[in-house]
Amino acid sequence: MTNYLIAMATFASIYAILALSLNVMWGMAGMVNLGIVGFYAFGAYISALLTVNAHAPIALGFLAAMLGTAAIAALVTLGIMRLRDDYLAIVTLGFAEVVRIIAENEIWLTRGTDGISGIPQPLKHVLGSDFNLAYLVFCLVIVALTLFVLERVRTSPFGRVLRAIREDAQVAAFAGKDVLKFKVKAFAIGGALAGLAGALYAHYTSYIVPEIYVPLLTIYIFLSLTAGGIGNNFGAVIGAFVVVFCLESTRFLIGVIPWLSAEQLAALREFLVGLGLLLVLYFRPRGLMPEPLPKLVGPSRGARSPD
């Protein structure tokens, strides 16, 4: 059982890094990214392919994953940075799906739906059965480091400019800030983190397959971030742990509710994730921004009467 808990905590840490990545892109730079799973996949595949095909050292795999994903994130930003929020949502969602389709079909590169197995796990031979615990510690250290760095970024001049851009890009540009450069940088940082998370996952489970990278995962991360408090780095981490532990504990419901099939329990779990996100949106009246966003709308469209 301890092994199981260790595994869950490890997944939670990986999701925490993803949540932090989303926080940088959205909470700090104001660009919602429904396609974060695409960057997650990117990092995982880069590291997996380098270490399995080219027998590169794992550290190199991690580095390449972070740099490669940062690069692709920067590129993506160029395409999407002028889009409105809801358009951005559609486009980033589409991006993740396209990444998954490519991963599934370019068999020569990614081994398609068979996935890549036998991804090397760092120091596995040395650690033996202690590997799981050691890896958890490794992940937690990375989470802590990332938190530290991101908090510094948030309070730095760079972070302040990002916040200004998030509030109103036009004003920021008027004040002489090169909005494009900042957004690209922010997205690249977020991308690097997502790529790091991807590599962490790949070298932990030693197996990746396109099926993992589905929108459901994006929703988990959104839930983690919104539950923890957007814009709040610590909240992102705590949110991720809470979400993972809640979800995994429902797996044991199967013993308690025997009349439900495994598939029904999986459906129930997913239902609860959706419900969770919805409830978080209700009970965080500040909506999805850490400070209320003074959006300039005319008289409210649609429903006018209070509920």
Binding site: Y4, S117, G118, G128, S206, Y207, V209, I212, A262, E263
Partner: protein, 402 residues
């Protein structure tokens, strides 16, 4: 099967692992008390779902029988089953639970090759034995250190059967349509190698099994006008493909794997679309006593190869553990050939008799319901026969001359 480098490496690894094992095995493997644990990782949902429930049934029936007769090594046998949903990701998570939480010694009857491919590394890392149905050649070629055997002939052998069918029927253009699996490329290559020298044109396409319509792929195929189509998918995509072939009024021969062309396939595709479709099937040891025993045990009149294999898996696992004197994956690995490959020894067809014989110090050869149950170094089954089936009037007719 594989080149000599791989078998030598496999042998080296196996040898090294066997010597090193006692020194690095976690102490829990030596526990002399508590139940003996074996697990089935079966497909209750997804493409393998026609067969998963039967595997579970066979496993449980044997375990119950063995427990009633006193268990293994004086201990009760505990059986667990998890659904792999016929997909590797779910399979890996389920396997982790079985290995990490439940501490099973064996993972039995993995059906889909993609799942086998994904789960096997977990097994050998944790010294858990995999006894599988999954047939992709690549699985046996992984460095599994001996923690793998399968009772299903590997796909290169099956591919040969398709080629033989095309040659026998003097096909001129054989169009191969398969979903992506670990064995797709091997099968294509194997068929080409056998058919092209005989002047048969081979075309191939790999389709996305999750699609709900293969209209475009069938269009492309019809333009090529082949006389024989190989429908190499699992049951769900076979159903969709068969319907699209019917819609397009394809008039040539169609042949598939028996694991896709099942009675439920006929239900799903409908009598019209299913009519005349051929399939290749490894022949279960229909005449064997094990087969007859299994029929009585699970109370079924007809058995497919998969339920037979599941029956053989659990018998082999328990007998090997008893032979090795230890309820661990390593014991199964080290002793399975001792109870399965030994033709000269006394034949047993079930665990209860075999356990008694082992306890009395006798050598045994387990003769299974799915076939001879003899394993090569890397875990492939040796000595297999096949037959061709055909659907006539909504029913599968076994062993036709074709």
């Amino acid at each position: 099967m594989g080149n000599s480098f791989i078998t030598r490496r496999g042998a080296l690894l196996t040898g090294a692992a066997t010597i090193a094992a006692p020194f690095v095995m976690p102490s829990s493997a030596f526990s002399q008390s508590g139940p003996v644990k074996v697990a089935g990782l079966v497909s209750l949902t997804g493409g393998g779902s026609p067969f998963g429930p039967n595997s579970k049934l066979a496993h449980q029936a044997v375990v119950d029988e063995v427990n009633a007769a006193g268990g293994v090594l004086g201990r009760k046998v505990e059986y667990l089953a998890e659904d792999d949903a016929t997909n590797p990701e779910a399979g890996v998570r389920a396997a982790r639970k079985l290995i990490d939480v439940d501490k099973t010694a064996a993972i039995m009857s993995v059906w889909a090759s993609a799942v086998g491919n994904a789960v096997l590394p977990l097994c050998w890392e944790n010294k858990v034995m995999m006894l599988a149905i999954a047939a992709a050649d690549t699985i046996a070629e992984l460095p599994h250190q001996g923690y793998f055997v399968r009772t299903q002939p590997h796909t290169a052998l099956q591919g040969e059967q398709f080629a033989a069918f095309a040659i026998r029927n003097k096909s001129q253009h054989f169009y191969l349509m398969m979903p992506q699996t670990p064995f797709t490329e091997t099968v294509f290559k194997g068929i080409r190698a056998l058919c092209e020298p005989k002047g048969i044109k081979i075309s191939s396409v790999i389709y996305d099994a999750k699609k709900t319509s293969f209209r475009s792929e069938v269009d492309e195929m019809m333009r090529a006008a082949p006389d024989t189509v190989m429908m190499g998918g699992y049951q769900p995509d076979d159903i969709v493909l068969a319907k699209d072939l019917f819609r397009a009024s394809y008039k040539g021969k169609v042949i598939g794997f028996a694991y896709g062309v099942t009675p439920q396939f006929i239900d799903g595709a409908g009598k019209d679309a299913a009519e005349n479709i051929y399939s290749i099937e490894p022949v279960p040891a229909g005449g064997s006593t094990a087969y007859a025993r299994l029929k009585a045990l699970v109370k079924k009149d007809a058995l497919d190869t998969y339920i037979c294999q599941a029956y053989d898996h659990v018998n082999l696992a328990l007998l090997a553990m008893a032979k090795g004197g230890e309820a661990s994956g390593t014991a199964i690995r080290d002793n399975i050939r001792k109870i399965a490959n030994n033709d000269a020894a006394m034949k047993v067809d079930n665990a209860v008799d075999g356990l008694k014989a082992i306890a009395a110090g006798k050598e045994i050869k387990y003769a299974g319901a799915s076939g001879p149950c003899k394993f090569s170094d890397i875990g492939n089954i040796i000595e297999v026969t096949f037959r061709v089936n055909q659907i006539k009037d909504g029913k599968i007719v076994e062993g036709v001359q074709a």
